[in-house]
Structures are given as C-alpha cells and as structure tokens.
C-alpha cells in the first residue's frame, strides 16, 4: 500500500516549524506506524536529507517514549493503542496523514516530533512516591490488601507517562497523569501516611509546570493508550479538597522526609 504524509519538521526548539509532504509507497499493512517512518527515514537518508526525529524505544506499547498526533488524534485512530503498536492496516490504502508532535506549553518541541516531557518527572519528584527506605519494609504479607483495591490501584498504575492525555486536552491539562499516580498510591494502605501531602505537592508542581486546568472534557481518557479512567480525577479532587480542608500546613510536608 501507499500513504501520503504531512510531517511536522522543526529543526530545533526555537526554529520555525512547518509541514512537509512525503509520499511513501511500498509499505505493507502488517507494518507498524513507526516501521513505516523507519522506511521513510531510510529513503530520506538515501537522498541525503535529514531523517525525521521521533522518540521511540520499546515498540511494545509500554515504555511510553513514542507519541505523535496523527490526523488530530494523539497516537492515531485506534483505541487503547500507542503509536508503536498502531499498524498500517488501520488505514485505507492511499491514506493522507498529518503527523504532529504533542502540542502543549509544558512540553516544548526539541526537534521535529520530539518533545521535552521532563515536566512529568518533576511532578513525580514532588511527591509521586511512598517514602520507604531500602531495607525498612515489613514482611510483604503482613498487610492484606483487598483484591478489588489492588486491582483498581493497578488500573491507575498502568499509566505509561506518554503524555497523550496532555496532547488531547484542549487546556493541555496533565490532571489524568497526576490523578493516576495519586490514585494508585492513595488506594493502597502503604500510601496512606503521605496521602494528603502527596496530592497537594503534586498538584502544586503540576501548576508550576504550566499545564492547564481540567474542565472535564474527557478527551484525555479517550486518547489514553492504557484507558486510564477519569474516575481517578474525581478521586484526586476529593483527596485534594480533603487535604486543603485539613490545612496546608499539615499537608505540605516537603519531600516526604527524604535523606
């Protein structure tokens, strides 16, 4: 089959970008979307043109490195599927595709389709953990966790940190990402001691990074390759309000007492 691509090309963080058209023929329906870009890049290298820069690594839909907006949709048209797991059989022969990087103020473009998502790491650094020193853990089965709580925590913990939720949101909000971590840890007994400080610190950092506010569009959930539910946002809001009521002095306890 063949496809026509319009790919966002941008030489660097401050350069002006533009769409460039490429016709790619001789691709197969069994190819993944990134394998199709590999083919195009090999052709570009053959013509001494600069290949398209894009992030990718595991190509199994779990590392969260890849991500591009395809025809206006983060990770393309297939539900619950990362770009690397999207296959060309999802498109008709001769399809015309517009490929762009994640667009959000908190995710500046570095080059072509590569963006800087380190804001996510800083949000986790602000409180997305349980403070447990190596070696100090009690016996694993000493605390029972109801299966439904563990399962729900796992649903939230499945987030791969790709940033599609931010790219899909008209406000470029990161609330689904933050809510997934707040919920994962808040659902487990081990996460209770820091539950209040965690949500306050993470939300504060999220705001400082320049992500927008959540106005309940739900686009994030629709774009999420791991189908993380916006119910977790409701959970975060509840935790946040509770923490605020109990008072910020009590809540914001720095970094959880790290060394």
């Amino acid at each position: 089959m063949r496809v026509t691509l319009h790919v966002w090309r941008q030489a660097g963080p401050v350069a002006l970008g533009k769409f460039v058209r490429y016709d790619v023929s001789d691709v197969s329906a069994d190819m993944s979307f990134l394998e199709m870009l590999d083919v195009l890049n090999q052709q570009l290298i053959g013509r001494r043109e600069e290949p398209i820069a894009f992030d990718h690594d595991c190509r199994e839909g779990i590392c969260g490195a890849c991500g591009m907006v395809i025809n206006g949709r983060p990770h393309g048209p297939q539900r619950a599927t990362t770009t690397c797991q999207l296959h060309l059989r999802s498109f008709p022969d001769g399809a015309e595709l517009w490929i762009e990087p994640w667009r959000a103020r908190a995710f500046p473009v570095l080059k072509d389709l590569v963006v800087d998502r380190s804001a996510f790491d800083r949000v986790i650094q602000a409180g997305g953990f349980i403070s447990v020193r190596t070696g100090s853990a009690p016996e694993a089965n000493s605390v029972a966790v109801a299966k439904q709580d563990a399962d729900l925590a796992m649903d939230a913990a499945a987030c791969i940190g790709c940033g599609a939720c931010v790219a899909a949101c008209p406000n470029a909000s990161a609330l689904l990402f933050v809510a997934a971590k707040v919920s994962h840890l808040g659902l487990l007994p081990q996460g209770q001691p820091e539950r209040a400080s965690r949500v306050v610190n993470m939300v504060t950092q999220m705001d400082a990074e320049g992500f927008g506010a959540c106005t309940n569009h739900g686009e994030c959930m629709a774009a999420c390759p791991k189908e993380i539910s916006i119910d977790f946002i409701a959970r975060l809001n509840r935790d946040y309000v509770k923490a605020a009521v109990r008072g910020k002095a009590h809540a914001a306890q720095g970094n959880g007492g790290a060394a």
Binding site: I62, G64, A144, G191
Partner: protein, 639 residues
C-alpha cells in the same frame, strides 16, 4: 598488563557466606558518605534501585540514562514476574530450592556463592516492593498471589498482570525521584555514556554525550556503577528496546574490564514471528502463557490446514511428549531449541514455516474465557494488535527470538569489575544466570544487586580506596574526552553510501545464523571473518549525516553499531572457544543422541573472561574455575 580474576567469594558454609561477608565489609562513616560522589549509568531495575538506595545512605549520586526519562528503561517491558523464595504456596519452596533451580537452570555455569545470595535476598525484594506500593496480584483474602514459570516445579513467581517489570521499575523510579527531589541525586536524562575514565588504574568517571545538543562532557567521581543492560540487539532483531546497546560495557572492556561468557545469549521461545523485511524488532509473549497454553505443531510435514481443522490425533504436543514432568514449562533454552527443530523438520506453521502453536483452547474450555482474560488479557490484546488474530479463537503463533544476555562484564562477589571502582550490576554483568536464565529471575537479580548488594559492597571499596582529588582538567580525563569526540567526528566524516541500519541488519542476520540458537566451529570461523570485513566496510562506507552538535539519532546509532561490530567478533570467539554445549550455548558437535546439550565440566567448568588487546587483535582468555560445594553438576534432566 596482567589480569587477575579473584572472585572474592567468602569462605564458610554456603548459607552463611553473605552474612559473614557483610559483617566483614568495611563501612563509610555516615558523615563522610556525602563527600563520596558515585556515578550510576542506566536507570532500569538495577540502576534506579542502586541510585535511590545509595542516595538514601547519603552518598552524592549522579545518574544517567539515554532515554528522555529514567522511567523508560527497558526493564519496563518485562512482563511475567519476579521470583522469590517466600513459600507462600506451601508447596515446598525454600531458599535452597530457588538456589538449586537457578544454578541447574543455568546448566552449572555460575558461581555458587552468588546464586545462593540471590535466592537468600529474593524474599526481601518482595517486601521492599510491596512497601513502595507495587500493586502485585492478590488473592481474594488480600494476600499475594503466585504463578509458575519454566524450569521449576513450585509456584514462586509474583506478578502484576502482564506488566510486572513496569510496576517494579516504577517503584524504583519513584524511589529515585524522591531522591532527585531531595537534591541527593542529580539526574541526566537523554545523556549517553561513551567512555569510562580510568586514572591510575581506578575508574574515576565517565564521558557522556548530551543527545539533545551533542555536547560532550566529563564527569568525575569516586566510583562508577554500570547498570546498562544487555546486548541482544547484536542480532538486530530481538525483544529488546531499539536503544539497548553494548556501548557502555564494550567501552569499559576496552579500558580494561574483563568481559565474561559473551556467547551466553538467551533465545526466548515465545515471541511473535516476524512478518517481513521491514521488521524493526520482535515482541515477546510472556513465558507465563506456558502455564495455560499448550505448544504443538502438526504431526505431518507441510500440513496447511487451519489449526482448528487438525484433529487431536494429528497434533504433536512435542514438549509434553519429550518432557512429561515439566511439559510446556521446560527452561527457555530447551523450549527454543525444540521449536527450531520441529520447524527445521518442515512442521512449522504460518508464513515461511517459522512458527509453532501456543494453544489456549483447552484452558479456555476448562476455566472459561473470563478467567483466561483475567490472567493474560493484556497479552492477548497485544498479540491481536500486532497480528490481527484473536488468541481466544485460534492458537497464537510463536517463534524464538533473542531476549536476554547472561554474559557481561566479569565481576567479583562484590560486583566489582577488573577495573577497581567500576561496579557492574543487573544484566550488564555476567554473574548469576550461568548459561541460561530462568524466567522471572532477571527482575530478581536486577533488584537484588541494586537494593541489597551494591549499597553494601561499594562502601567497602570507598572505605579503603585511595582516591586523590580529581577534576575534569586532569590529563587522563581530557584525553578520554578527546577520544570520544574524535570517534564521533570520524563517524560523521566517512560520508559513504550505506546507512547505519543496513550494517546493523547485516550483522544481525549473520549473528543469528552463525551464533544464534545453534552454533558450529566452521560457521563461527566464517562469521569472525565476515564480521571483520563488515567492520572495515562500515568505516569505509557508512553514511551518518547531520551534525554532531544536534539531536542526531543516526549518529547515536552509528556509535552503537560500531561497537556491536567489534563486540560480535568476541562473542563468536567465545562460542568457538567453548567446545561443549551448555544451556543456551548449543554447539552442534557436542550433543547427546537425544539432541540434548553435552557439557564438558572437565574442560569448561569455568567462566571465560576475555581481556581486550586491540580491535582486530586476538583477545586474551582468562578463566575463573567454578567450584561446586553444595551441588553436584549433573546432566540437566527435565523429563
């Protein structure tokens, strides 16, 4: 240069070695720890857990990864689980049994003391991870659930759906993030290590390239820890992430670190078969599927009927037939070899006959579709996404693929390489899996090294090492930095006609054919010659393009492939030198009449550790004899 391989395994009874050793390790005063700067390269399970634990102890840590975030290291893709000798199932498991299974699974080519320590520590890893909030699978009573993996007859594998690696890594990543937030770790993402700085025989730093702007920098420290993973991508097609590479350990090897057993590479039996020449990587289907899936091929050659049309009597469940007591759960090396065998006989299924069936029909009939979906739902979904076929309706088609490398930098009991101060942990070292790794043991080893071994042993080194003050202006640092910059410049200047990718693919095919699932002397000799020719052609004719001072993936790839082209030769030499079959290393000349591996303990009951002598020059072989006190090496039997 003389190289000495001192394992530093402590004396005394096996079960007391680690405790005694810990009591004897020297300590660094708490107030002095912050004055010691430690570099950790890699943020997978081993690297992230080590960096976090060292920072908790008070050391000043710098941590590096080539990915855009430490959370994306390839440990994240591990699916099935992590072993621990908890005996929660009351099925007779124990530390000794986990130790014995691991050393037997490795075909008696690993160090007893290391493997025992690993089994001993395993239980504490689960405690640590649960406390961090890793959402392991649980039973209705709220306690932890287990499942079985290959090569064992107890149920000791802990799991988080089919995403155990992801959840364990996120636990370690979050511990690391806590230390970054506290200012105890300085994190350098999108930064690739390109050399080790050795000053007066000690590892004192690394040279890195910033992958966004191309800047080459020197970082000096008191000790360096490599947690840079395995080299399966020498085969081009493997289950590893695209970025996985041999560069860090190869450059360390060139600076004097011995490389051990490089030919021990694991070919995983259950991967999705390739579909065409465009294939960029292969995808694993977790070994846990073999708990409920049955592996078979048609009895008759070239049987082209749909699997559902082949009656029971015309199917060959060849693993159950040959290994009745382990059945579909034999170790990976055997499952892979038998799959290759039936395909070579012409009984393979799917395009090109490169596949065998992994069938869930009976399990679905027995347990119902919902129970199977609960256990393997995300794996089935992944399979369907890639192949457009539903494993609920038709059996999966699977074929072996390179997955893990047991070989790596040689380390002593303290996880230190032959360069003082250079420690190596996780898949990057050679230490615990011998000639074949059992399923769910990689996660265990990575976390054992990072959480519970290195934090003690590195203190012993720092407490006694003479570490004169050093900064980036030292001539040895500047010289190493200049060499790194020079290599990048050379790669850009070749300006030939062939892309980096074409060289990598050609090398991969050659290694798969000659140094893959089965090997022979003639093929290996031929491969060594061809690798040398290909390497020369690479430096004559590669085209990289772009600039050094830019985000340039082709340049990153070129550096990695140039190292694979040197490393592959050593891998073949090691395979050629080892005139026996053991575990995954199957030399066609050495097999029993039944086609099983024939070991030669007399001549090869050792670790082969290679010393670098120059590119294209014959490396020097050193051996560390393996002594067995607690177990008696026998021919592995899984029948």
């Amino acid at each position: 240069m003389t190289m000495e391989l001192r394992s530093n395994s402590p004396g005394g009874p096996l079960a007391e070695k680690w405790e005694r050793h810990r009591a004897e390790l020297r300590l660094v005063n708490p107030a002095n720890k912050r004055k010691h700067h430690v570099i950790v390269v890699g943020t997978g399970l081993a690297g992230a857990s080590a960096a976090a634990s060292l920072a908790e102890l008070g050391y000043t840590v710098s941590c590096f990864c080539f990915q855009d975030s430490p959370r994306r290291a390839h440990s994240i893709a591990a699916q099935g689980g992590i072993n621990a000798a908890k005996n929660y199932q009351n099925d007779g498991d124990s530390v000794f049994r986990l130790f014995y299974d691991t050393i037997k699974g490795g075909d008696f080519r690993s160090r007893e003391a290391n493997v025992y320590r690993l089994a001993e520590i395993s239980a504490r890893i689960i405690d640590q991870c649960v406390a961090q909030g890793v959402p392991f699978a649980r039973e209705y009573g709220g306690l932890l659930a287990n499942r079985s993996f290959g090569g064992v007859q107890v149920s000791r594998t802990f799991y988080a759906r089919g995403q155990t690696g992801q959840q364990l890594l996120l636990g370690a990543y979050q511990a690391l993030c806590r230390q970054i937030g506290a200012g105890q770790v300085r994190m350098y993402p999108r930064t690739e290590m390109l050399d080790v700085v050795v000053v007066d025989g000690q590892a004192r730093g690394i040279i890195t390239r910033n992958l966004v702007d191309g800047k080459i920098s020197a970082h000096v420290a008191d000790a360096v820890v490599l947690a840079t993973g395995g080299y399966s991508n020498v085969y081009y097609l493997s289950t590893n992430a695209k970025g996985c590479n041999v560069t860090a350990i190869w450059r360390a090897h060139k600076r004097g670190a011995a490389l051990a057993n490089p030919c021990f590479t694991q070919i995983h039996p259950t991967c999705i078969p390739p579909t065409g020449h465009h294939q960029a990587k292969l995808t694993l289907m977790s070994e846990s599927l073999r708990n409920d899936g049955r592996i078979w091929v048609p009895l008759r050659k070239g049987d082209a009927r749909a699997p559902g049309d082949i009656p029971e009597t015309e199917r060959d469940y060849y693993l159950e037939r040959r290994y009745p007591s382990y059945g579909n759960l034999v170790p990976r090396d055997l499952a892979s070899r038998r799959a290759k065998e039936v395909c070579d006989e012409g009984r393979g299924v799917g395009p090109g006959g490169h596949g065998v069936y992994l069938d869930f029909r009976d399990a679905i009939a027995r347990l119902g579709e919902a129970a199977i979906a609960d256990r393997y739902g995300n794996l089935f979904q992944m399979y369907q996404r890639i192949t457009a076929e539903s494993p609920y309706r038709a059996p999966m088609r699977i074929y072996p693929a390179p997955h893990y490398t047991m070989g790596g930098l040689w380390v002593d009991y303290n996880l230190m390489s032959t360069i003082p101060g250079l420690h190596v942990i996780g898949e990057a070292n050679f230490s615990d899996h011998g000639a074949n790794r059992l399923g769910a043991s990689a996660l265990m080893q990575g976390l054992a090294d990072g959480y519970f071994i290195l934090p003690y042993t590195i203190g012993d080194y720092l407490a006694q090492a003479n570490l004169p003050k050093l900064d980036a202006t030292h001539p040895a640092v500047r010289q190493t930095g200049a060499q790194v910059a020079d290599r990048a410049r050379k790669l850009l200047e070749v300006n030939g006609r062939r892309s980096v990718d074409t060289f990598h693919r050609e090398l991969g095919r050659l290694m798969w054919d000659r140094c893959g699932m089965s090997r022979n002397a003639a093929g290996l000799k031929d491969a060594i010659q061809k690798i040398c020719v290909l390497r020369e052609e690479f430096w004559d004719d590669v085209y990289v393009g772009g600039r050094g001072a830019d985000l340039n993936e082709a340049l990153e790839q070129a550096g990695r492939v140039s190292d694979f082209l040197e490393f592959a030769e050593l891998m073949c030499r090691d395979a050629l030198e080892r005139d026996e079959s053991c575990g995954c290393h199957f030399r066609e000349e050495y097999q029993t009449p039944e086609g099983e591996a024939r070991r030669d303990d007399e001549r090869f009951g050792h670790v082969a550790a290679w010393e670098f002598t120059g590119v294209g020059k014959t490396p020097l072989l050193h051996t560390e004899p393996l002594q067995f006190e607690a177990v008696h090496p026998s021919q592995r039997s899984y029948t």
